[in-house]
Symmetry: C2
Subunit: 497 residues, 2 copies
C-alpha cells in the first residue's frame, strides 16, 4: 500500500511555480460549476501519519479554492454533545450539502486505528469498525456524494526527521507534543494497523489515494490535481439514467396472508380499564425517566401508520406523562431544500436525542420505503438499498445505548373512511384532513404491501416493530404506552449488569 | 426479519394442484433459455432452521426443473482435501458455470452461525464472517451471478411439532438426531444469532427471502415462483451497456518517479558467489519442506513481470530443490471456455495447493489488473474492483496458513529487446518468442503504469510484493530463492508460537 509513497517524490520549485496558477484557476472554475449545478457534495478525507503535513495541505487547498464553499473540520476530542450520541453523529453534522466541499482532517478512521495500535481493541473489532465505515461510505456514494480519501504517508526515517525539524523551530514546536512522539514509538505497529485498515476500506467506490508526505510541493500538487480530476470527471459525465438493477425479488405473496391482515382488529378496551391503565402507565413512564440510570440511555420512538390511525393521540399520551425537558416530538413532513441537498438520513441524524432524552418521530426515515416507494419519489434501487441502510442506522443507535421503539399504528380501510368523514363534519378537526389524505387512501393496497415488506426487512432483534391494533383508540394508546415502559425498563435493567 | 414467516401461511391442495403444472412448465422453459443463452450462473442458497424442510424443498425444485442442469450440494463436514484449504474452497469448487443452476443446502453461512450460537465465537467474529460473506457475494453478483438466498423459518412451536412428527414416523426418524434436539434447546439463541446474521447480509444485491417452512405446498410454490421471477427478470433485461462508474482516480503521476523506475537495475552477482549461494539456498529450501511443521502450512508463489524477464528460470531454481510431490507449477495462459463461464478467480481457486504443498503460479490472478486492463479485455469497473477482490482472496489464503510470496521480476526495456533478439537467433529458444511478445512490448509504458498501480494497491502487510531486479539473471534467481526461504522460515517460526 505504501510502496510508492516511500520513493522520495519531489516537485522542484520552478515546476511548482509554473503549475500552480493553472491548477488554481481550473480548481476555482470547477468549484464554481459545482456550486452552480449542485451536482453532488464532495467529501475529502485527509488522513495519514503524524507530521505528514495534513494540516498544511488542507490550508493550501482551501487557499487555492473559494474558501467560502470549502469547510474544513479538524475533529479532535468529541464535545459533550457529541459524546451523548452515536460515534458517527459528529461527522453527519458536518457533511457538506450538494454543491459544497467538506474536508475532514482526522476522520471516522482515526479512533479505531489508534485504538488498535495501542492494543485497546483486537483485529476483529478493528475489522468491524472498518466494515461499518465501508457501509457508511457506500451509502454516501450511493446517495451521489463524491468521496475522496487521501492518506499522507511518511517512511519511518522521514517521520523522525520531520518531527525533529518541527520541534527545532520555535514557530512549529507546538505541533509536536508527547502524543506525537508516543505514536512515533509505535511507528511499525501503526503502519501495520493502517495498512490493514486501508486494505479493507479501499473500495471500488471510495479507494484510498496514498500520497508521500515528505515534499510539500509534491503533496500539494498531487492532491490538487486529484481533486480537480475527480470533480471534473463527475461534472462532465452525461446524466444517463441508470437502468434498474437486476435484484432478486422481495418475498412474493403466495397467499392473502400478510402480517397486517393477521392482526385482530376487533381488540378493544373499556373506558374504565383504560382510565385506570392510563393513570398507572403514565406514572410509571414518568418514574422511569427519573431513574438514576435514565441519564445513560436515549430513547428513539418511531410512529408510522395510515393517515388518521391515531399516531398523534398516542404520542400525546406519552408526552403527557413527561417533563417537557425530557422529550422532543419531531414531526416529519416533506424535506426542506437544505435537507434535500443531503443524504436522506441526514435530517434524522440531526434530530437524534442526547442521553437522558426521548426523541419521538411522528413519521420517520421509513418514509423512504413507504411514501417515497409508493409515490415513486425515488428509484427502485434507492428504496431497496434503504432497508439495509436503515438497519445500519438503527444498529448505530442501539450500540450507543439508544432504545429504539418502533410502532406501526394500524387501522382498517373502513375505519379510516369513517374517521375521514368524521373529520369533515367536525369543524376543529377539518384542518387535519387534506386532499393528499384522500389520494393516499386510493393507494391503500400498495401502502399495505410496502408496510409489510418494511416490517419483514427492518424488524430486527435489536429494533423490533410493535404492531398496534388501533381501530379502538383506547386499546391502541395503552398498548403504545405499555410497550414504551417495558422497553425502557428492560434497557435500564440491562444497564445495571 | 421473521415476522411474516410465523403467520401460518398455507396453500390448499386444490390451489397447489392447479398452480404446479403452469409453474413447472414456465420453470423448464426458462431453464432451457438460461442454458441456451448462458446469460449467467444461478446460485440458490436454501438455509434456515432445522426441520423447516430444506431437503424436501430442494428435492422438489430439482424435480420441477431439468435435473441435469441443476446441481444440489448438501455440504456437511468438510473432507480432508477441503480441510487443507481455505474455508471457501469447497464452495468455489461447486460454483455453477454460466447457464447452470447450483443449489446449496447448508451454505457458507452455516459454520459461523452455529459457532456463535454455541458460544464458540463472539459477535465481533460473527460480524467479521458475515462481512467476508458480503464481499464474496458482492464479487459473485459483480461477476454477473444471480444469487438467490432463501431462509426457511419455523416458529419455536412449529419447529417442536415438526421434529416430533418426523420422529414419530419410522420413515423419517433418521432425520432427527441428537444434534437436531440440541439445536432446538438453543432455539432462542439460534433465532437471535440468525437474525443478526440475516440483518447484516441482506444486501441490495443479494437480499434474504425469508419463507415460512410449516406448510410444504406454500414453501414449494413460494420458492418456485421466486426463482422463476428472478430468472425471468434477468433473462428479459435488455443488454444495455453500463456507463462507466464515477470513481475517484488512482494516484496521478506528478513526477516521473515510479516504484519500478527507482529499482537499481545494475545489480549483479558474480558466477562464483552465485554458485555458492545457489547450493546453500537450494539445500535450505529442501530442508524447510522437510520441516515437521511444513505439513501445517501451504505456500503460494506468484510470478509476474515483463516477457523474457526470466520468470521461468527463477521458478526452475526453486523446483530444482524440491521433491516433485511437494510442488506444482501452474502456468497461466488465456482462460479456457470452462473457465470463462466462471468468476475470474475461479481458475486460481481450483489450483490452490493443500497443506504441505507449494503452488507456483507462472502468471496469476494479477492478469486482471495487468494484461486485461491494458488490452481492455475487461471494463474499467471490472479491473478496478479487482484490487480489493484480490486482497480479499489473499487474505483468505493467509488466514488459512498459506504463505503468499509475490514476485515482480523486472527487466529494463533495453534488456528485453536484447533478450528478444537473442531468442530470435537461437534455434531452441525461438519457440519462446511470439508475435504477442512484440505487440506487448509496444505497450511497455502502459504495462509499467498498470504494474505500479498493482503494487500500490495489492502490496499489503499480509502479502507484500517482492520486486526483483532481473537484468542479471543470477542476481534475480538468488533474490527469489532467498525470499522464498525467508518467508517460509518465518511462517514455520510463527507456527511454533
Amino acid at each position: 500500500m505504501f510502496e510508492s509513497a516511500e520513493l522520495g517524490h519531489r516537485i522542484d520549485k520552478a515546476t511548482f511555480k509554473k503549475e500552480v496558477p493553472k491548477l488554481r484557476e481550473a480548481l476555482l472554475l470547477t468549484q464554481a460549476e459545482l456550486l452552480r449545478t449542485k451536482k453532488m457534495p464532495v467529501v475529502i478525507l485527509v488522513s495519514g501519519v503524524e507530521g505528514a503535513g495534513k494540516g498544511e495541505t488542507v490550508n493550501i487547498l482551501s487557499e487555492w479554492m473559494d474558501p467560502r464553499h470549502v469547510h474544513t473540520y479538524a475533529l479532535d476530542k468529541p464535545t459533550d454533545e457529541e459524546r451523548e450520541r452515536p460515534y458517527m453523529w459528529r461527522f453527519w453534522r458536518k457533511l457538506p450539502p450538494k454543491g459544497k466541499i467538506g474536508v475532514f482532517v482526522g476522520s471516522w478512521y482515526r479512533a479505531a486505528i489508534v485504538d488498535r495500535a495501542f492494543g485497546r481493541i483486537k483485529n476483529a473489532e478493528l475489522d468491524q469498525s472498518m466494515e461499518r465505515i465501508i457501509r457508511f461510505e457506500k451509502m454516501l456514494t450511493d446517495e451521489g456524494t463524491l468521496v475522496l480519501k487521501f492518506w499522507l504517508h511518511l517512511s519511518k526515517d522521514a517521520q523522525k526527521k520531520r518531527l525533529k525539524k518541527l520541534e527545532s523551530s520555535a514557530e512549529t514546536r507546538w505541533r509536536v507534543t508527547d502524543m506525537e512522539w508516543s505514536h512515533f514509538k509505535l511507528y511499525d505497529t501503526f503502519r501495520r494497523v493502517s495498512e490493514r485498515a486501508l486494505r479493507q476500506t479501499s473500495t471500488f467506490e471510495a479507494p484510498w489515494i496514498v500520497v508521500e508526505g515528505t515534499d510539500p510541493n509534491y503533496r500539494y500538487l498531487t492532491l490538487g490535481k486529484a481533486i480537480l480530476e475527480a470533480m471534473r470527471k463527475r461534472l462532465d459525465a452525461p446524466d444517463v439514467p441508470q437502468p434498474p438493477p437486476h435484484t432478486p425479488p422481495l418475498l412474493p405473496a403466495e397467499d392473502r396472508l400478510s402480517i397486517l391482515s393477521t392482526l385482530d382488529m376487533s381488540l378493544k378496551m373499556g373506558k374504565k380499564s383504560y382510565s385506570e391503565s392510563l393513570a398507572k402507565l403514565e406514572k410509571k413512564m414518568n418514574l422511569l425517566t427519573r431513574h438514576p440510570r435514565f441519564k445513560d440511555i436515549s430513547v428513539v420512538a418511531v410512529f408510522e401508520g395510515p393517515d388518521a390511525a391515531g399516531k398523534g393521540g398516542a404520542i400525546r399520551r406519552i408526552t403527557g406523562a413527561l417533563d417537557a425537558r425530557t422529550y422532543r416530538v419531531i414531526p416529519i413532513a416533506a424535506p426542506t431544500e437544505e435537507e434535500r441537498d443531503q443524504p436522506y438520513l441526514w435530517r434524522f441524524w440531526r434530530n437524534l436525542p442526547g442521553t437522558g432524552q426521548i426523541g419521538i418521530f411522528d413519521r420517520s426515515w421509513y418514509g423512504r420505503v413507504l411514501v417515497e416507494r409508493v409515490e415513486k419519489f425515488c428509484r427502485i434501487q434507492d428504496w431497496m438499498r434503504a432497508y439495509s441502510e436503515i438497519n445500519d442506522f438503527e444498529e448505530q443507535l442501539v450500540r450507543s445505548h439508544t432504545v429504539v421503539v418502533k410502532f406501526w399504528v394500524h387501522i382498517t380501510r373502513d375505519e379510516q373512511l369513517a374517521r375521514f368523514k368524521e373529520r369533515e363534519k367536525t369543524g376543529f378537526k377539518r384542518f387535519k384532513l387534506t386532499d393528499e389524505d384522500w389520494r393516499n387512501r386510493k393507494k391503500w393496497d400498495e401502502y399495505e404491501i410496502a408496510a409489510c415488506d418494511m416490517i419483514d426487512h427492518t424488524g430486527t432483534e435489536i429494533a423490533p416493530w410493535t404492531l398496534v391494533e388501533a381501530n379502538d383508540k383506547q386499546y391502541a394508546r395503552i398498548k403504545v404506552l405499555k410497550t414504551m415502559c417495558d422497553r425502557i425498563e428492560d434497557a435500564l435493567k440491562k444497564k445495571k449488569n
